[in-house]
């Protein structure tokens, strides 16, 4: 891991302890254990939110997360993130991190982003997979670019990568950006909230591991397209 070279008065330990990592989990029992282990080696406060899984995920979370929360019924990733965020803020978190449960993110990328927010370089750190060492499948890359253009048109925010699940928000930013959409459209919703909030956004190179598993678990292109439509409909019928 690289040097954290803390800001003025924050030690490395304080940065890591003040950054609460929220991991939304839905039927991820094969991958989530190693993800939680890797996070716990670095971050003392890992909040895993089981979003109504029907496999053994819940047991894994209880055993390996610092805090395990559970939705009785599946309500979508956005809802799970918001539940974890509320919990962490209530416990006094200084920063909230989002980290996917399928093993596609790297902990060292998160550390770098947490430091940037802790050092007050930005209020919100977003992962940018196009600048990391990711090998992005072509169709996925094209759809993400399309979504980025859409956000540029609708909310005027210029982002290289949108819908990257790796993020760090200052406590203040997390309070201002309360997610309300149930389903996957939360990534778009968050971008709108960021645009309105006027908070400082930093984009950080992140590497996404596109394993066979994460691709199989991830959204299909058709689902992505559907989410864009849902999001557009949501804009009309707010």
């Amino acid at each position: 891991m690289q040097s954290l070279s803390a800001p003025s008065n924050l030690t490395d330990e304080q940065i890591l302890a003040g950054t609460w990592v929220v991991v939304p989990v839905f039927n991820e029992c094969t991958a989530v254990e190693s993800v939680l282990r890797a996070l716990r080696r670095v971050f003392p406060n890992v909040v895993a939110v089981d979003d109504g899984s029907s496999d053994g995920s819940w047991k894994t979370l209880q055993a390996h997360a610092t805090y395990a929360l559970r939705h009785a019924v599946n309500r979508g990733q956005g809802a799970a993130l918001q539940t974890g965020t509320d919990f962490a803020l209530d416990k006094g978190a200084h920063r909230i991190a989002h980290f996917d449960a399928d093993g596609q993110h790297r902990v060292e990328d998160l550390v770098r982003m947490a430091c940037a927010v802790a050092r007050d370089e930005c209020d919100i750190a977003l992962g940018d997979r196009f600048r990391g060492a990711s090998r992005i499948p072509a169709i996925r890359a094209a759809l993400i670019r399309l979504a980025a253009v859409m956000h540029r048109l609708t909310s005027g925010i210029v982002l290289n990568d949108v819908h990257n699940g790796l993020r760090v928000l200052s406590a203040e930013a997390a309070r201002r950006c309360e997610l309300r959409s149930d389903r996957m459209a939360h990534a778009s919703e968050l971008i709108d909230l960021i645009a309105v909030s006027g908070m400082r956004v930093g984009q950080f190179p992140t590497t996404i591991e596109y394993t066979e598993y994460s691709i199989a678990k991830g959204q299909r292109a058709s689902a992505r397209a559907r989410i864009l439509v849902h999001y557009a409909v949501g804009k009309v019928f707010r």
Binding site: V49, G52, Q62, A63, H64, A65, T66, Y67, L69, R70, H71, A72, V73, R75, G76, A79, Q82, T83, D86, F87, D90, R180, D182, F237
Partner: protein, 116 residues
């Protein structure tokens, strides 16, 4: 009066009765109940006097009574779907609030020391 007319009128009468009962119980908003009863009444008139539908259609420049009825049907179903969709969205949102609240309450209750 043909068999079809009698069957249709019976169906309309059932719908109106159900609407009135539900409206009285308060399980159907008054506005929606009124719109349903009005729609059923117009339908009943057209069933009894099909020529009136044609006359009205001519007046509106549509031509055939059947077309007029079809257009009205399309409008009514679209409105029905839309209002149903909006209600479903509201229910889903409420459910999310509820589920999230429960998760946070459970977490507070457990309050077990973090596993280290």
């Amino acid at each position: 009066m043909t068999v079809f007319q009698i069957a249709l009128l019976a169906a309309i009468a059932t719908t109106v009765t159900a609407t009135l009962v539900l409206g009285r119980r308060g399980s159907l908003p008054r506005g929606i109940a009124a719109i349903l009863v009005a729609g059923c009444s117009v339908g009943a008139v057209f069933v009894i006097e099909p020529d009136w539908a044609t006359a009205l259609a001519r007046l509106l420049g549509i031509g055939r009574g059947a077309d007029l009825v079809l257009y009205l049907l399309v409008l009514a179903t679209s409105w029905g779907f839309l209002s149903m969709y909006m209600r479903l969205r509201a229910v889903r949102r409420d459910m999310t609030v509820l589920v999230r609240r429960m998760a946070l309450d459970d977490a507070d209750r457990d309050q077990r020391p973090p596993n280290t």
